[in-house]
């Protein structure tokens, strides 16, 4: 299903995102724009506020200040906004006692998917998890969990994906597999915001990159500047300048 068609306007438009936790300022005014069908990589040192930013985009957190629009709609509360988003966080959001299939069916029901059973079966075969369908998610390895988590995130076929460090804890083969999968999702026309530490993968997966450091966007790049050598140099320079 091609998602890029029919979405006039920006997939994500965030202006002046601020987030305070008590006296701690995790985000101090970040602007973000994402055109439909494009992927934006968000990189930065630990504690820079990347996860916070992503959770705000997903609607899990409300920003202390700033304006946010997803798919042209102001995000807030429930409704169409959240149905357009597929989120993969640091944790899998899965229930260990339920089987793989049951987890997907449950997620499908949460999103009001028309026929959750067959959708679950379809996703399981797409991810190559069909043989694990009746096994409890609690028994899965990290790689399998991640694949199931991705299936869960797209159960409702969202045009926007938000991925928070999805490569964490995956071995080489699983990482490559994930990268391939993400490229496939991208080819469907989905927009995505990808938080990652893996600078080498950015050029293969993203159209643009923004570096977040200390709650601020300190550097942006796109196109050829995403090549690993260039990106790494610019990243280190930007981070050092910020500190």
């Amino acid at each position: 299903m091609n998602h890029a068609a029919g979405t006039g306007g920006l997939a994500v438009s965030a202006r002046g995102m601020e987030k305070r936790f008590g006296a701690v300022r995790a985000l101090r005014g970040v602007d973000l724009e994402l055109a439909p069908g494009r992927t934006l990589a968000v990189i930065g040192p630990n504690g820079a506020g990347k996860s916070t930013l992503l959770r705000i985009l997903a609607g899990l957190m409300r920003p202390t200040a700033g304006e946010l629009e997803i798919g042209g709609q102001r995000l807030g509360g429930t409704g169409p906004g959240r149905a357009r988003i597929g989120y993969i966080g640091h944790t899998t959001l899965l229930y260990p006692e339920l089987t793989a299939r049951e987890n997907l069916v449950f997620a499908g029901r949460l999103y009001g998917v028309a026929d959750p059973g067959s959708r679950a079966d379809q996703l399981l075969s797409e991810e190559g998890l069909a043989e694990y369908a009746s096994r409890r998610a609690g028994t899965f390895s990290r790689g399998l969990c991640q694949r199931l988590a991705i299936a869960r995130a797209i159960v409702h076929d969202p045009p926007l994906m938000l991925l928070d460090e999805p490569f964490t804890g995956l071995d080489r083969r699983a990482s490559d597999r994930l990268a391939l999968r993400l490229q496939g999702l991208r080819a469907d026309g989905r927009s995505a915001v990808l938080v990652t530490h893996d600078l080498s993968r950015v050029s293969g997966l993203a159209d643009a990159v923004v570096v977040i450091c200390g709650g601020l966007a300190v550097h942006r790049a796109e196109g050829s500047a995403l090549a690993p050598e260039i990106l790494e140099a610019e990243y280190l320079a930007a981070v050092e300048a910020a500190e």
């Binding site: 305070r20 936790f21 300022r25 200040a65 200390g214």
Partner: protein, 237 residues
């Protein structure tokens, strides 16, 4: 910062009332002491009856305090401005003080007039439950992650607590009909010479509550402003 600019006008107005309120309160306190000392001693209950000028007026603070907390919570959830959350905190702390004083003066009065420290009399019982609700509210605030989450949870619990007050009265009305509380207070059958002191007492404590609430709110606002300034300066370094 949004909270500050939007509510700045209201906050400044509250601050300005500070001086006029403190004069009013001082005047009332003088009148209060003079009238209470001069009030006739009740023939039946003796001098301890003068707690009449202390205990019921405290009810204003105790109950309005929680209403302020609930209202602050609702406004915070609706508007998102943290100044409302600060009002909720102010309401809870000031209300707790008044409620605690009620829980202290109540038994003293009870012992003096009915001979027992405690009775499960409706109004005293509901006040006791309110007292626990206050403490639970403040405990929730201190245990929750500070910032928006604590404010939000507290606001929700504040709403529950406010709903609880009429619910408790309803419960007690249905089930525990006996009341040892002197109902005659409401009916205006106070003895001669007690009317004026009682009126002034009510007025004094009401104004005292409003004054303390406004001051506490102010303190909280200043603290928040200072914390924000500090973190901004820290960032700039």
């Amino acid at each position: 910062m949004a909270g500050f600019s939007r509510l700045g006008a209201l906050e400044r107005r509250v601050e300005r009332t500070g001086t006029s309120l403190s004069w009013l309160l001082a005047a009332l306190l003088v009148a209060y002491v003079w009238l209470v000392v001069g009030a006739p001693i009740d023939s039946v209950q003796g001098p301890i009856q003068k707690i009449l000028y202390l205990h019921p007026p405290l009810a204003y603070g105790a109950y309005l305090g929680f209403i302020a907390t609930g209202l602050g919570g609702v406004l915070y959830l609706w508007r998102g401005s943290e100044a409302f959350d600060r009002m909720a905190i102010a309401g809870a702390e000031v209300g707790l003080i008044f409620c605690t004083l009620m829980m202290v003066t109540g038994p003293i009065w009870a012992k003096g007039t009915w001979g027992t420290w405690w009775s499960w009399d409706p109004r005293l019982t509901v006040t006791l439950l309110l007292w626990f609700t206050y403490l639970a509210y403040l405990l929730l605030r201190s245990f929750a992650e500070p910032g928006a989450r604590a404010a939000r949870f507290a606001a929700v619990y504040g709403i529950v607590g406010v709903v609880l007050i009429p619910l408790n009265y309803y419960v007690i009305e249905i089930f525990e009909a006996r009341s040892m509380h002197p109902d005659n207070l409401e009916r205006g059958s106070l003895g001669d010479g007690m009317g004026m002191p009682f009126l002034v007492a009510n007025l004094t404590f009401f104004v005292a509550f409003v004054y303390l609430l406004a001051r506490r709110w102010e303190v909280e606002n200043l603290a928040a402003r200072a914390a924000l300034r500090e973190s901004e300066e820290g960032d700039r370094k």
